[in-house]
Symmetry: C2
Subunit: 441 residues, 2 copies
Amino acid sequence: MIQDYSTALMTDMYEYTMLDAALKDGTANRKCVFEVFTRHLPLGRRYGVVAGTGRILDALEHFHLNEADLRFLSDRGIVSAETIKWLENFTFTGTIKGYREGEMFFPNSPVLEVEGTFGECTLLETLLLSILNYDSAVASAASRMVSAAGDRPCMDMGSRRTNESSAIAAARAAVVGGFQGTSNLRAAQLYGLNVIGTSAHCFTLVHDSERDAFVSQVKAMGVNTTLLVDTYNIENAIKTAVEVAGPELGCVRIDSGDLAALAQRVRNQLDTLGAKNTKITVTNDLDEYALASLQSAPVDSYGVGTMLVTGSGAPTCAMVYKLTEREGENGVMVPVAKHSKNKATTPGRKLAFRSYEYGLADAEHVVCGSEEQLARFQPEEDWKDLMVNYMNHGEADTQYQGSDAIVNARNHRAQSLAELPITAQSLMKGDPSIPTKIDLL
Amino acid sequence: MIQDYSTALMTDMYEYTMLDAALKDGTANRKCVFEVFTRHLPLGRRYGVVAGTGRILDALEHFHLNEADLRFLSDRGIVSAETIKWLENFTFTGTIKGYREGEMFFPNSPVLEVEGTFGECTLLETLLLSILNYDSAVASAASRMVSAAGDRPCMDMGSRRTNESSAIAAARAAVVGGFQGTSNLRAAQLYGLNVIGTSAHCFTLVHDSERDAFVSQVKAMGVNTTLLVDTYNIENAIKTAVEVAGPELGCVRIDSGDLAALAQRVRNQLDTLGAKNTKITVTNDLDEYALASLQSAPVDSYGVGTMLVTGSGAPTCAMVYKLTEREGENGVMVPVAKHSKNKATTPGRKLAFRSYEYGLADAEHVVCGSEEQLARFQPEEDWKDLMVNYMNHGEADTQYQGSDAIVNARNHRAQSLAELPITAQSLMKGDPSIPTKIDLL
């Protein structure tokens, strides 16, 4: 990492070589509309949750090539001297709209629409996709876990099982997906998230006895702390924990074994010892299915790691960034699409709405056409418009950045999910919970 | 991202709260040995490839708390004022040894050993695991892909399908795993990697015709460029491509459809047109199985994306960081281990060797004991010592950082894999290709 932070090379080389050729032939200045969408949800998933748009706005603030970046492009001969000149004061001046963070998405939902010149839009492809694909994968997994957990809070503890920077994005996306907090300090610092923590086995092991470790932890952190009780023998540990902290002990954590059975035994033992308010948290490779199976166990909260930060089997959303409309030689906008086998695209700009019946969503409507056609389009009365304006001619709408935006996204996810048919919350494999209807004007 | 870059909060909160308690009770100063290992390989995998240790050395250079970090820990009440004081000039002064980058690993291989005080070692847990878990997952997947690709070069094109910073680490890990280069500019800049690129469908679509796009690209990049030929109709595109660039055209890329059949058709057509030296590269959700199935197709190189950067079904290596030995009250080192169900650990320091029969590895030997026992241990004559010294009392051995280290790791991976039984290169699910023998002295 360099001091003068830039996101401008977090891209694939071809974006700069295409820019170089397009500057030479003039097409770099053509107005363009690009769209982000996915062709399918991960197998059997009912919906996805959009996350990462706030981070996109952050990343674009830093999308300026610094001297080292320009030198690199020049030294490696990636672009011509004229293009280096063009890049010197580069800043994205286009317009971005898209689904809100926390919004549900389905196959072909136009999650993001980017409008600007070909030159400026093409440079953003990889960075936008990286952010949306990973963050939405985590938020989508988180959302299923939160449904399976019911009223019990879920906490992100997955940092160690993904790249150290992904971990920060994962913590944020987990909260968008309905999690209550994270163990990741950098994420808490950067995004103002709740930060939580318990204790590790090494803390018990570094002490001469488990009792010494508990005494030390309670002394430093107070009786409301969470003691880890499965280093040696859980029954002995619970006894020691309540002796050390008293019946006001905040919480105990179990990290191994048959969690449902152990939680019941630990609950009984705590109750017998008078620690009726001491909570139980469990961790240990949990996923949405494990959480569902723990519904009747006396557990108060969950720490979820690996399966959260790796998208619970779907570590990417397979979103793509495609040109859908561009200016022609005569200045008129032309809808375009590729015809590649199994990878064809739908031409034209898009609007997106969700329709409802008896208060529940029954379809996603993607309306495609020219700017004029879309301006004239009248959605039906109960249709909700799914797109918001993130950036207007290079100016970000700051309401979508920062900690408040994450809280809003979290609330929006809860509301948006509640408006889907109840099958959306099923963990059984099935079709997307509402169909996507493409409407070509 | 902040200007004054620090990795010190890329951790879980409990590391700092444990430090706080351990400083208060004195155990923070106890000498400790921590070990990184995994209990199992991903289902059916024959081996894993270590990657990320060079990045660990880089990350530790930045593991110093800046003012914002200290203020955050203080404002959130995570640690006491005394601990803030202790952290002000924190720098890791311990010793790290471990497997080389590019080395094969198996269940219970002591991939990394960290020695220092409890306080300094505990702070590193999450950061070290994040790096090793992700980088090794990608290198392990890459290695299988490279075996399946035979002599044909594999290129990383996966940046868009993982977090934007993961993408950089993935490119580096891919090369450790045997890839030849990456499309990721930032990774190429940071690690001196080969950078490659072709062209996107949007470049064809922004032009008034495919021919215009090809003319523009060849003009900007020369005839040795790679033209993307599946935007509309592949046969027409090949014809146009050779008309535009001549028979000296460098390469064409196919990104959709039945790649084996298309490659054959494209090869025939190119040959007929006299473009006998024009190469064919294919991309499109390739994994090691797809590469294996393309062995007899006339393809010259592969661009691999999603499945590379997500570890081809195993996005983490499930490595853990466990305390194995620590100083007692009397200053004598004591081996320690947790007894948690299914998660018990092996106490004591470790040495690691690989033994050979007829030139091929036949076992991994993990020798556990006290420092004195291990110093006296005599491995058998043909055993290879698998551990190198990465850091000595806070001083990194710089031969393991930078671009040369990546090339060395790549070569080491090839040699190390060649010394495993040939079944290691099988894509069929099976047991680890050599057993790990634990030797308690």
